[in-house]
């Protein structure tokens, strides 16, 4: 419930677990379209694809020849009985053929394996590249409205699924398909009657499997439900374990756990039993069809209609006939979930990219940083406006502080200047140019931001400061770090600027991370600076140390300071109190206090008790 911890790992029989194929799988909505699109990706490597198909067909056909040669060999040996001695020359000749055949098959097999690996990896690589490239073009709104975990799983799980399916299933479908048709042909060639008997056993097996599968699915879905419930309980109680302990609720938690665990135990035993039955039952069917082949073959050989070698060949062909049918049935689910995954990936690719109708390129050195809002209306959704008739004129180099309750639209102002979101009506201008006419990248190059949750990237400290200016020299980087008050602590680290940041910069304190973010902004040297709750997650004393860096950063730039608890507010050229999407009040600290308006109220709420006790100056 605290919302931040990761979702429980999907559990229960996974792909590798027994019976995993019975877990209900999500289905793609538009199978045909998705497959077509996926094929377009695969056929980007046309040569590989053609080579692969050629090899697979060739290999499957060659594999089919092997039992035939084995049959010949057995027949050659059987001449001992029928003729009196084995047919040595025929035996050796057949065995040599068999040897050559095996060798060729193996080489082709290896080659097709390598090609299929390349094909799937190259395809997935392009898919990943395209997905990421697309992600980079999506508007901020998309990220604000979609769960990151979900997007993440599309890049990882879904693409993994596609990759596995491509490398295994595609080849498997062709191999198995040819195997089924080919062995059927061979069986017919050897004996139509025995073929009929064998082929009849297959549907019987499939029907039986289906009957079990239905039952299994029922118990599996019950198992999944109670497993989900149990995992939810574990997640909640373990994550909230400190609260559980504080209220001495351990025993109740255990009781609830036991009840769910008991359900799970019952269902999972049933589910596992039913799914486990499939193996032996398929085994018995394969054994019975073996018996059928033996009886009918024995009788036919006895009556002289076929040779013994034929029985041997038949046994193998009937296996090659029924095994792929089972495998194809198994592949069906894998392919299904891969297509569903592909659909989710394509869904991102079909999102509208951030539009940019602006074509004016700014000449950076000439930009002064004058920003004007004129009658701006904006809402995140159609129904509610966050900013109403908002007008604001900011002269170059001015420091503007935005204060007000949550939801008043402080951060919105920032989202609009950067064009992360577009306004409904009105105009925003930069140096008197409507920002909608400016190319977004050019506009954003004039803006630097420092956010509350410091975003640092994996890499070294240098890489992260460099983010502000990719081609910065060492001197520039150090100078920026000095301005940001970060140089001294960076120098104290064993690897200095080359210190690698651990995951999410965990080896730095909050304050240090923020200083690096400030250095990054300094290096970028923007005309407009936005500090969005930049010091809110730092305690007040640490904040005082960052203060100097902040002041240095803001000097000479148009700055927007969004305040939750910001001491620089007092020095701001203008403080805007936002309320319900409008500017409720505007002025500098002294003016606003004199006005005794909303700002004064805000200020006084904080010190109400003091004013009542009335011993605090100011």
């Amino acid at each position: 419930m605290s919302g931040n911890h990761p979702k429980p790992m999907p559990m229960g029989p996974g792909k590798r677990g027994p019976g995993g194929k019975f877990t209900p799988k999500e289905k793609a909505k538009n199978v045909k379209g998705t497959v077509k699109r996926l094929l377009r990706y695969i056929s980007k490597n046309k040569l590989l694809l053609i080579a692969l198909l050629g090899l697979v067909i060739l290999t499957s056909v060659l594999t089919l020849l092997s039992p035939m040669l084995q049959a010949d060999a057995i027949d050659a040996i059987a001449e001992k009985v029928t003729v009196g001695s084995i047919n040595g020359s025929k035996l050796i000749q057949t065995l040599i053929f068999l040897g050559i055949l095996t060798l060729v098959t193996v080489v082709f097999n290896a080659a097709s394996g390598i090609i299929s690996a390349s094909l799937s990896q190259y395809t997935v690589k392009i898919l990943r590249r395209d997905l990421f490239a697309k992600i980079e073009t999506l508007p901020v709104k998309y990220f604000d409205t979609h769960a990151h975990g979900d997007l993440m799983s599309r890049l990882t799980n879904d693409i993994d699924n596609i990759s596995n399916t491509l490398s295994q299933s595609v080849t498997a479908i062709f191999t198995n398909g040819i195997s089924v048709i080919g062995s059927l042909a061979f069986m017919l060639y050897y004996s139509p009657l025995m073929t009929l008997i064998t082929v009849l056993a297959v549907p019987a097996g499939i029907l039986l499997a289906k009957g079990i599968t239905v039952r299994t699915r029922k118990y599996f879905s019950k198992q999944q439900t109670s497993l989900g419930e149990l995992n939810g309980h574990i997640e909640e109680m373990v994550t909230g374990q400190k609260t559980v302990a504080a209220f001495s609720r351990e025993e109740i938690a255990v009781e609830q756990f036991d009840a769910i665990n008991q359900h799970l135990r019952e269902y999972s035993i049933k589910a596992q039993i039913f799914s486990g039955l499939l193996g032996p039952l398929m085994n018995v069917i394969s054994n019975l069809s073996f018996v059928l082949v033996a009886i009918s073959g024995g009788w036919m050989a006895w009556s002289g209609q076929i040779t013994i070698g034929t029985i041997q060949a038949f046994i193998q062909y009937s296996k090659q006939f029924s095994r792929p049918i089972n495998e194809l049935a198994n592949q069906y689910n894998t392919i299904q979930s891969a297509i569903a995954g592909a659909e989710r990936v394509f869904d991102i690719m079909d999102q509208k990219p951030e539009s940019d109708s602006g074509n004016i390129l700014l000449n950076l050195p000439e930009i002064t940083g004058k920003v004007d809002f004129e009658n701006v209306n904006f809402g995140y959704n159609k129904n509610t406006l966050v900013l109403k008739n908002f007008s604001l004129n900011v002269k170059p180099g001015m420091k503007i502080a935005l204060v007000g309750p949550t939801g008043a639209g402080k951060t919105t102002v920032v989202n609009l200047i950067t064009r992360f979101y577009d306004i409904n009506s009105g105009t925003i201008t930069l140096d008197d140019i409507n920002i909608e006419k400016i190319q977004k990248s050019s506009l954003r190059e004039t803006i630097g931001i420092v956010l509350q949750d410091t975003v640092l990237f994996s890499g070294t400290i240098r890489d992260n400061i460099c983010y502000g200016k990719l081609d910065a020299s060492d001197e520039e980087i150090i100078a920026a770090a000095k301005t940001a008050n970060a140089h001294s602590f960076i120098s104290r680290m064993p690897d200095g600027y080359n210190t690698a940041l651990s995951e999410q910069g965990a080896n730095l304190s909050q304050g240090q991370r923020q200083l690096i973010a400030i250095a990054r902004a300094v290096l970028a040297d923007p005309k407009i600076l936005i500090l969005d709750e930049a010091t809110s997650s730092i305690d007040t004393r640490t904040e005082m140390h960052i203060q100097q860096a902040m002041i240095a950063l803001m000097s000479g730039r148009t700055s927007f300071i969004i305040a939750h608890r910001l001491s620089t507010i007092r020095d701001a050229d203008a403080i805007l109190v936002l309320k319900d999407g409008r500017i409720a009040e505007k002025g500098n600290h002294e003016e606003l206090l004199k006005n005794k308006g909303p700002y004064w109220e805000l200020y006084m709420t904080q010190f109400r008790r003091e004013t009542e006790d009335s011993n605090i100056p100011n």
Binding site: G113, S118, I269, G276, I295, W302, I569, T605
Partner: protein, 584 residues
């Protein structure tokens, strides 16, 4: 191997499962021999020097084959039944014990593992082990049996086939060994590659505003492409290696079959072997070598499960560092708290102690506030009172008794603790508040909510106190969560109330009303709060300023403004320079 304990109750099933599997495998092994009987004694039966065949042998043997198949399937089903029962029960018991264990942990142990890791251990790792046990009971018996049974049957037909095995078996084993040796580092590298790629992706999701504001989309694409390229090349290498493996195995198997037919032919010629026997040896050999391949896969599975077993065992072997002292009859009656020369350092943590030589007396009904920078030890200090941690040196006493003398349940029942992170549980708001006291009436719960300033917003919900919270229910704002967790603690009517920075998301006005209501309604209660804001602590009877694990100053607001530099610093940073707070 503490895990063995969990298999013990199901030992009978664990013995029966492999036994049933032995039945299935022996029936499987009998089939080719019966087949060879059909060929040699049925089809190729000789009488008077000519092949006449023997239909009754063919039919009788076929009947035997059907019976064998049926016995086999009975064995297989039995094995499935027993192994399912054993493994699922094992998993359920293990999970249950793990859960109990985790519930018994003190904060020190929970911190050591981190909750995320504990959740994974209870869910994923247990499932891994459960699956392994099931697989072990089925495949681990079946595969070697098929392998060695096949070899045994082949040898019993004619020892000469042993020559082939003498060559092919070691080569096959060597091949598997070499491949596994080459493959392992590839798979490690693959994992690193995947991690790097995911990291770039994750960073771009979290930092989309920064990427866009600095217009670094191109730079990010390059970073991603680099990670993508290196992952692809590692994957390709690994997959290419693997795609050579199975053809090599096939080559080997077919080579063996050729050898069998060749030697078999010679033996038939020398009249020491019959045709049908050659056929059955081909089948046995193929089976044996196939099983060998399966066995190599099983080893990989075991090594994966070993990691899970280790992680599960770590939890089971961790003893709660707190003795719950359940027999003690002592109970908290007053609510005075005293710290006597208390020092604390986290186990296994390097560096300075978190708390050093703390001495402090808190009277019954007193309102004490702790203030200090992050890392100054405030939270740790109050966590010692309900024994979430135990002191390293010194003693924490309540009503003059060391907290370690109380039974923890009795101790905690008199302490209302509101933690820094407001955790609510799925269920209704009413159910959540009644966590504090399951026997409380609805009226009492509403009253607690009123004191906690939660009643207003709860009443504004359509379902009021029956509003369902949780993953599928309503999500609350930080301030709302904090007020509900305070209500929960108030409902306990504790002698001592501790609020660990749990009003940070409330605006000043609400916080002031809350503190006032607490004083009015629960006047005898000792109130201990931790806060970041000066305004939260100003009305306290005593403010204790902590700095680097030591008490830097203590006194009322006015006294501290006079005497404490640190306090004045903090005051200036928030008030003097004109901080303004959110007001809802």
């Amino acid at each position: 191997m503490k895990l063995r304990k969990y298999m013990k109750p199901y030992l009978l099933w664990m013995i029966l499962a492999p036994l049933a599997m032995v039945v299935e495998v022996s029936m499987d092994l009998a089939q080719p021999t019966l087949m060879s009987t059909i060929v040699d004694d049925g089809i190729l039966a000789m009488s008077d020097g000519a092949v006449t065949g023997n239909l009754s042998v063919i039919l009788w043997t076929s009947l035997k084959m059907v019976i064998c198949a049926l016995i086999g399937v009975a064995g297989g089903m039995g094995c499935t039944y027993f192994s399912s029962k054993a493994s699922q029960n094992f998993g359920a018991d293990l999970r249950s014990d793990l859960f109990r264990k985790v519930q018994s942990f003190s904060f020190a142990e929970t911190d050591k593992f981190s909750t995320g890791s504990l959740v994974t251990r209870l869910t994923n790792d247990v499932t891994q082990l459960q699956n392994l046990l099931m697989m072990a009971l089925r495949m681990f018996i079946r595969t070697p049996l098929l392998c060695f049974g096949g070899i045994f049957m082949a040898l019993s037909i004619n020892l000469k086939f042993g020559l082939i095995l003498l060559v092919s078996l070691p080569v096959m084993l060597l091949l598997i060994g070499v491949i596994m040796k080459i493959a392992t580092p590839f798979f490690n590298k693959m994992q690193t590659g995947i991690d790097t790629l995911n990291a770039v992706f994750q960073e771009n999701l979290a930092g989309v505003r920064v990427v866009k504001a600095f217009t670094r989309e191109k730079h990010e694409k390059q970073r991603f492409d680099k990670a993508n390229d290196s992952l692809t090349s590692i994957m390709l290498k690994a997959m290419r290696l693997m795609s050579v493996v199975s053809p090599l195995m096939i080559l080997f198997m077919n080579g063996t079959v050729i050898a069998v037919i060749f030697i078999g032919g010679k033996e038939v010629d020398a009249a020491s072997l019959e045709v049908g026997q050659v056929m059955s040896v081909v089948t046995y050999m193929t089976q044996a070598l196939m099983s060998l391949m399966m066995m190599s896969m099983m080893f990989m599975m075991v090594s994966r499960a070993q990691v899970s077993a280790k992680r599960v065992r770590e939890v089971l072997n961790t003893e709660s560092s707190i003795d719950r002292n359940e027999t003690s009859v002592l109970s908290v009656t007053e609510g005075t708290v005293s710290f006597e020369n208390v020092s604390f350092s986290y186990p296994e943590a390097a560096g300075d102690s978190v708390l050093q030589g703390i001495n402090l007396e808190i009277k019954k009904g007193e309102f004490v506030a702790f203030l200090g920078a992050t890392g100054s030890g405030k939270s740790t200090l109050v966590n010692l009172i309900p024994r979430f941690y135990d002191v390293t040196v010194g003693a924490v006493k309540i009503d003059g008794h060391d907290v370690r003398e109380y039974a923890t349940a009795s101790l905690r029942s008199e302490i209302g603790m509101v933690l820094q992170e407001a955790v609510l549980f799925s269920g209704t708001i009413m159910e959540n508040i009644k966590w504090g006291n399951p026997d409380a009436t609805d009226e009492e719960a509403v009253k607690a909510a009123k004191i906690a300033q939660a009643d207003d917003f709860v009443s504004s919900f359509a379902d009021g106190y029956e509003t369902v919270l949780g993953q599928r229910g309503l999500s609350l704002s930080g301030g709302q969560k904090q007020r509900l967790s305070i209500s929960r603690a108030i409902l306990k009517k504790p002698k001592i109330m501790i609020m660990d920075d749990s009003t940070s998301a409330l605006d000043m006005g609400t916080e002031a009303r809350l503190q006032k209501a607490l004083k009015e309604n629960l006047n005898d209660m000792t109130l201990i709060i931790i806060a970041q804001r000066i305004s939260s602590v100003m009305s306290a009877d005593r403010i204790v300023v902590l700095d680097q694990g030591k008490i830097a100053a203590a006194g009322t607001h006015e006294e501290l403004l006079e005497t404490s530099d640190i306090y004045r610093d903090i005051y200036d940073s928030q008030v003097g320079l004109g901080g303004v707070e959110d007001v809802r």
